[in-house]
Every structure is written in structure tokens, then in C-alpha cells.
Symmetry: C2
């Protein structure tokens, strides 16, 4: 317990001392794979930001590579205050853990409603919870890579690039629409499954036009 209290205290002081003069425009909560891409691009654009992570090993590692990041729990109001949440404009919620992410979003919504939240989501369930909290912008962490990856496959299979772009665009639109439909019925298992199965049929229909034109099996 002593060690725990001491660590919290020490960290709090470190955070406060270091952050005081920064007046960040952006706060990044969670400095893992997603948060670091934000950090790199913000740094390259000279946009001031403060990054917070709860994993001290991760912090030690990214600091070795020249990153500035603070140890702490981004769902704690005192830490957010020290990090400059009052005068920042954006809050990048890049925390991978769903529960901590939601808890942090709730804290921000309650105490710093002026902050625009950009939230990383793990999966559809996480998206629904973030939608309920009315965060500004949500992206599912593996969705875009997955869609582009299918595009790579289609290209390799011999699809025309324009056809692939069309298919992927339609798929994204369809999926976004499905997310909204599923969000409405998410507490009712039967409706959720029914809506989702309809979605599969709809997707086939939406894409059927491209299908005939673009794909002839070599088998």
C-alpha cells in the first residue's frame, strides 16, 4: 500500500510539474498503438499535446524513442485538470480497454463537456456505449485496416482498382448504416440477430451489381 500511495503521489507531482507550461490543445489518453500515431502526427505538425498512459512499462519504452508521455489514470479528474483539460480543445480517447475507456468518457462528459472526444472503439458493443455517451467521433480500431486489407486481396485476385474502391465504399456505408440499426435494437437479442441477418442479405444486394462485373472464379 505504501508503495502504491507513494507512486500515485510521485506521479501526480511529475504530471503536474511537467504539464504546467504546456497548455495543450489536445489531450491523448492512452499512448499505445493508436495514441502514438496521434502523437507522431501532432508533433510533426507542431500542435501541442499531452499524452497520458497508465502502463509504466509502456511509458518507459516510448520515452526511449523520444516521446513525452505521463504516467497516470486518465479517468481521474485531478489528473485531467493538471493535464490542462480545462483549456484544451480535443480529447483523444485512445484507451484500448473498453471499461476504462467508457469510464474516462463519462468523466470528460461530466467535467469538461467543451472537449471534443475522438474515441477509439474496440468493437461494435463499445461503439454502442460510446454512441450513448454522444462522443464527437468514433472509429473502430481494426475496421479500416480490415477493409483495406480485403481491398488488397481483391486487387491481387485481379479485380479492377476502381471496382474495388466502389465495393469498399459501399461496404463502409452499409456497415455504418447497420451500426445505427443494430444500436437501436442492441438490448433485444432476437431483433439484433434478425437485423444483422437482414443486413447480410442487404449487403449482398448492395454489392451484387459489382459482383457480376468484377469477379469470375478461376476454378
Amino acid at each position: 500500500l505504501h508503495d502504491f500511495v507513494l507512486r500515485r503521489f510521485t506521479n501526480r507531482v511529475v504530471v503536474y510539474d511537467q504539464i504546467k507550461d504546456e497548455a495543450p490543445e489536445v489531450i491523448i489518453a492512452g499512448f499505445g498503438r493508436v495514441g502514438q500515431v496521434f502523437g507522431r502526427l501532432l508533433k510533426a505538425q507542431n500542435i501541442p499535446f499531452v499524452a497520458i498512459d497508465h502502463d509504466s512499462e509502456q511509458i518507459e519504452l516510448v520515452r526511449k524513442f523520444g516521446n513525452k508521455v505521463y504516467y497516470g489514470d486518465a479517468s481521474r479528474k485531478d489528473l485531467l485538470e493538471a493535464a490542462g483539460a480545462r483549456n484544451a480543445r480535443y480529447f483523444i480517447l485512445a484507451i484500448g480497454n473498453v471499461d476504462v475507456s467508457i469510464e474516462t468518457a463519462e468523466t470528460i462528459k461530466e467535467h469538461y463537456p467543451h472537449l471534443k472526444i475522438f474515441a477509439r472503439a474496440r468493437n461494435r458493443g463499445h461503439v454502442y456505449e460510446l454512441m450513448d455517451l454522444d462522443v464527437h467521433k468514433i472509429r473502430r480500431e481494426t475496421f479500416d485496416s480490415s477493409v483495406l486489407f480485403v481491398g488488397d486481396l481483391f486487387i491481387d485476385m485481379g479485380f479492377a482498382p476502381e471496382a474495388v474502391n466502389k465495393i469498399l465504399d459501399k461496404f463502409r456505408v452499409h456497415d455504418e448504416m447497420m451500426l445505427k440499426e443494430q444500436h437501436k435494437v442492441r438490448h433485444d437479442d432476437k431483433s439484433l440477430i434478425s437485423v444483422s441477418k437482414q443486413g447480410v442479405a442487404q449487403l449482398a444486394q448492395v454489392l451484387s451489381e459489382d459482383q457480376v462485373k468484377t469477379y469470375i472464379s478461376p476454378n
Copy 2:
């Protein structure tokens, strides 16, 4: 042990019976968030595939939504044989766990070298291992979403869309180049850190042109 053996046996039979007539063009190993996007788009394009996952709960869930997916360990040769690896063309390595992913890639490379492997990677370390195995195509699972998400932020900050596209394109090219540089020195901690720090400076330089033009802080 009895239960374990029985389960393995039962699953093998299930896989064999169901897969026999399918002659898949694509095998998807791992039917989580990434694998399912492949499954949905392949299904909509009528391209025959077989999906394998080791998580029986996950399988039960996705089956409820109308997916066909088999229980099994995709790094096992007998299962791959039953799944039609001999006559398939593509192997989508969409397994989230790094060790299982590498093990599976090794099995494919050894026994089915004709299969083109499209591999999901968790992080840079995973990419290096997949590069060593010379898989056909690699995408990091959270990278593209992260880059696009920074684009959303820049647009919200008032950057011109063309400027954002330019920044993100340059960043992707730079990052891909960095991956190759880091891959060369990955076993030498000091060189890795040095190369990475140089990379940060290079990125700032690469993007400096866009920076002045596009961003004026409102503070």
C-alpha cells in the same frame, strides 16, 4: 484428457464433413474482428471461403448471425488439409495472438508454400517476424484506422481536406520506410532507438512544408 481428445476428434470430423464439398479459394484463420470483415465481403462477392477459429464461444456467437465457421487450431496441418489448403489460393492469417499467428504462418510456409498469405499484424515486432517469414502482404491491425482518425481530427481543426490527404500519404510512406529501416537493426537496441529518433526528425522535415501552410493555432 478424455474430453480433450473427444473434442479434438469431434471437431476434426465436423470440419472434414462440412468442408469436403467446398473447395475454398480462401482460407480465413481467425474469425474475430478482422477475419469477419473478410468473411462478409467474400460472401457478398460469392467467393468460396472456409473460416477457422479456435474460440468456441466466438464461433457460437458468429454462427448466430448466420456465419459458417469451423472450430479448430489453424496451425495444425491435418486441419488445414481438411479445410482444403492444398487447392486454395489464399490464406488470410487473421489471428490476433502473435505467437499463434507466427506458428501458423510457419506451418503454411512449410506445407503449403503455394498459398499467398495475407497477415494481420498486431504491432511492429509482429511485422518484423512476418517479414522474416516472407509472407505476401502485411497490414497492422490498428494502423490504418489510427491514421484516418488523425485525419478526422485535422479536418475538424480546419485543415483543408487536400492538405490532410497529402500529410497522411506522406506519413504512410515515411512509416513504411521506417519499418524497413527498423527491421534491419531490430536486434540491436541502440541502433533501433537511434534509427527511430532519426525517423522522428525526418518525419518533421517531410511534413514541414505542409505544416506552415495548413496549421495556424487558434491559441
